[in-house]
Structures are given as structure tokens and as C-alpha cells.
Amino acid sequence: MTLAHRIVPCLDTDGARVVKGVHFEGLRDAGDPVELAARYNAEGADELVVLDIAAARDNRPTFLDTIRCVAEQLAIPLTAGGGIRSLEDARAVVRAGADKVTVNTAAVKRAALLGELSREFGAQAVVLAIDAKRENHFWRVHVRGGRAATDWDAEDWARRGVEMGAGEILLTSVDRDGTQSGFDLALTAAISRAVSVPVIASGGAKLPQHFLDVFMEGAADAALAASIFHDQVQSIRALKEFLQSSGITVRLPC
């Protein structure tokens, strides 16, 4: 019995449609979230992340509808986030059918939010999303979709976030996001060592070898990717078969 390493497809949405951009910019349409969710559920994804990257206040009911429709398709866990600023926002997302919520900018602004969410839903339902960018000898936390630098060192912020109540870290390398040049292994390993909770690595995935590297060298517990799955460049089943043949424990649905 070993906990399996997770493969997590991510749907970045504008609330209603899946979109994709490089370095958080130049967005293009990448499909219908409900269709993609059904496909990933059937293909053996271990969980699904749905983000509202526009996170516009007036668009919120649309995103909640999207969560509801996506949740209908799933027999695996669903994580949702983007624009969650308060306990009330998180409640709406959970009520719509999410099992876990991710918070990012709002937690940097007010870390106590993590504790409020954790007390209400349990730490296992609170995912702290960290967007980190390399700067000489450390990684700096960025917010607002990777556009704004903060004062936080990513390792310190990850530790602080867990102390405050986060039960998992969703770690995105801003440098690698959208480049398909592989995960940032040094960043992932540093954060994975710094905290006692699971770490989902994100940003830069393309080849099966990238996933193997981030599990072995990066010590990631889960790995997230978007466009390679959306565009059917990589099948989840084939990826998992490769990982299993390389000695990584994965769940291969019968």
C-alpha cells in the first residue's frame, strides 16, 4: 500500500470557457469545461482543478454554474478557485460542488483567511496556490495571476500558509508556466521539503519525462498540467503507464 502520485488536469476558465495563455497572457479558447471534465474523469485523472482566472466580480454566478456542471461529471475530487476573497466566497464554491478550494492573492493580503477556511471545511479542503518566480537565490511569490511581485520568499510563504491552515500547496512556476520546458524541479523540491503537506507541482509540463522528474527529483505529490491534456498531446493513461513502468506508484483504473 503506497499513496499514489496524482495526475491533475487543470481547467483555466474565464468563468464559462476553458482558456489557455503563455505566462498568464495571450488567452485563447481551449474548449468546454464540462466536456473536458467528463473526458478526464473517464481517462483516469486523479482529480480536477477548475480556476476562474478572470475572477471578475460580476461573472461569479457563471463560474459557480460551471463548477456545478463540472461536478456533475465527476467521480473524482474537484478543486476550484480563482477570486476567492472571503469565507462566503469559498462557501459558494463548496456548495456548488467543489471538494477543495484554492486561494492565492486573498491569502497573501490576509493570511487569516486560511485559518477561517480550515476551521470551516478542514485543512484537507484548503489549497494554498503559490505563483513563484526565480530571483537570484530564491523564488519570489507573485499574485494577481503572476503579474504583481510581493515581499514573500516562496519557501517562507509556504511554511506560513501551512501554519495558518492550508492542507496542500498548489505551486506554479511563473517562469515555466506555458513554456512546456519541464517543471521547475529545484523550486518544487525546495517547497516540498519546506512543508509537511502535499505539494502539487504546476507549470511547464509537456513530456512524460517531465512528470517522472518532478516526482523523483522535485519530490512532488501530484503534478498538474493543462494544455497538453486539452490538446490531446498527452493521454493521461499513457502518461500513467510510463510512470508506472518507471517505478512510480500511480492509480491505473481497471
Binding site: 500500500m1 503506497t2 496524482r6 467521480a75 473524482i76 475530487p77 484537507q124 503537506v197 481497471c254
Partner: protein, 201 residues
């Protein structure tokens, strides 16, 4: 099959209800003691904090009718925290007594492994299990918890391991519990819930 889902406020009632409806069950969600006393089949889905669950059961006066239903042989399934609640106490909230249907204390998993125990893991069957009937031993189930029940009880049907061995499936007459989330565990999870519905019918 009519199933009464105990909705204590923080639970994952929606996804459990959705999965059961797909399997053909008729679902009523409630936190009223009268409904629980009249139920023919009970499920307690739980997520979050032991303290919140136990306090809510007592606030709504659910403890007595629930235990009374189980003693009458009404089929019961506790999910995740709903399994843990069947024990006497938990280190998560030491002052609050559990339902005490089973001996023992729920304890935190060892901190040398990453917590929460989050993701897909396999089971070790200790004895024949009606809930796991027909399900492959290679099947994975979805876990999300940091506390767990002891593995050495007579009612433990299957265990899992993360830092230490713990009870993953328990069966005591008509009362059942699973530490994982069958409603989030793909095909094997649905099969397990189907087994429960068949047992309860």
C-alpha cells in the same frame, strides 16, 4: 431504496447524494432527529473537524435517535469523519465524546509522513467484507484525512497504511464505515455504495 443522508452542515452531502442518485436511490437530506428516528437507511458523510461534527449532532439532538436506529439494525454507513465518529473519542477534540459504538480512540497519523493523507491508496483486507464484495483488491480509493481509527478492532474489515496502519473499512452487524470517500473514488467507490444499498434493501 430510500436513503436518509445526515446533513450536519459541513459535510459533503451533495456529492454523496449525486452518486447515490446515479445508483437509483431516493435521497432525503436532514438534520432533524424525527427524520433520523424514522429512517430506513442512514448515511453520515463527514468532512472537516471532529469537534464540528459531534457538536452539530448534539445541537440537533441526533445522537440518541442515530444510536437507537443502529441498535434496531437500521443499515448505517459512516463516511470519513462519519466513520471516526463511531469511536469513543478523538485527539482532534479530546473533550467531546464520540458515538461510542466502537471501542477506541481516533488519533492523528504520524507526522513523519505528509499530512493530510491526501489522494488514492489501496486497502488490505483482513476478513471477508460485504461492502468490498466483488471489488478488486488492486482498486484505489480516495482519502483526505489526518486522523484515523485504530487498526486492531474486531470490526475492522480492511486497513490502509500511511505512516501507520489504520481502519479503512469497518463492519459491525448493520453498521458500516469507510475512511475514504467512495463518492470520489471512481468506479470501485460506486461499486461499494451499490453493495451498501443492496445490503440495506
Amino acid at each position: 431504496m430510500n436513503v436518509t443522508l445526515i446533513d450536519y452542515g459541513a459535510g459533503n452531502v451533495t456529492s454523496v447524494a449525486r452518486t447515490l442518485r446515479r445508483l437509483g436511490a431516493t435521497i432525503a437530506c436532514t438534520n432533524r432527529s424525527l427524520d433520523i428516528a424514522a429512517a430506513r437507511c442512514l448515511i453520515l458523510p463527514g468532512v472537516g473537524h471532529w469537534g464540528a461534527l459531534i457538536s452539530s449532532l448534539d445541537l440537533h439532538g441526533i445522537r440518541e435517535p442515530l444510536l437507537e436506529a443502529v441498535s434496531r439494525g437500521i443499515p448505517f454507513l459512516g463516511i470519513c469523519l462519519g466513520l471516526q465518529a463511531l469511536y469513543e473519542s478523538s485527539d482532534e477534540a479530546p473533550g467531546l465524546a464520540g458515538l461510542g459504538l466502537l471501542k477506541g480512540r481516533v488519533e492523528q497519523l504520524p507526522q513523519r509522513v505528509k499530512l493530510p493523507h491526501m489522494g488514492w491508496n489501496q486497502l488490505k483486507a483482513l476478513r471477508p467484507s460485504r461492502l468490498l464484495d466483488g471489488i478488486s483488491l488492486a482498486a484505489y480509493f480516495y482519502f483526505a484525512h489526518s486522523y484515523a481509527a485504530p487498526a486492531d478492532g474486531a470490526e475492522t474489515a480492511a486497513t490502509c497504511e500511511h505512516g501507520r496502519e489504520f481502519t479503512a473499512v469497518l463492519e459491525k452487524e448493520s453498521a458500516f464505515g469507510v475512511q475514504f470517500h467512495p463518492e470520489k473514488s471512481g468506479v470501485p467507490g460506486a461499486e461499494l455504495l451499490e453493495n451498501f444499498l443492496r445490503l440495506a434493501a
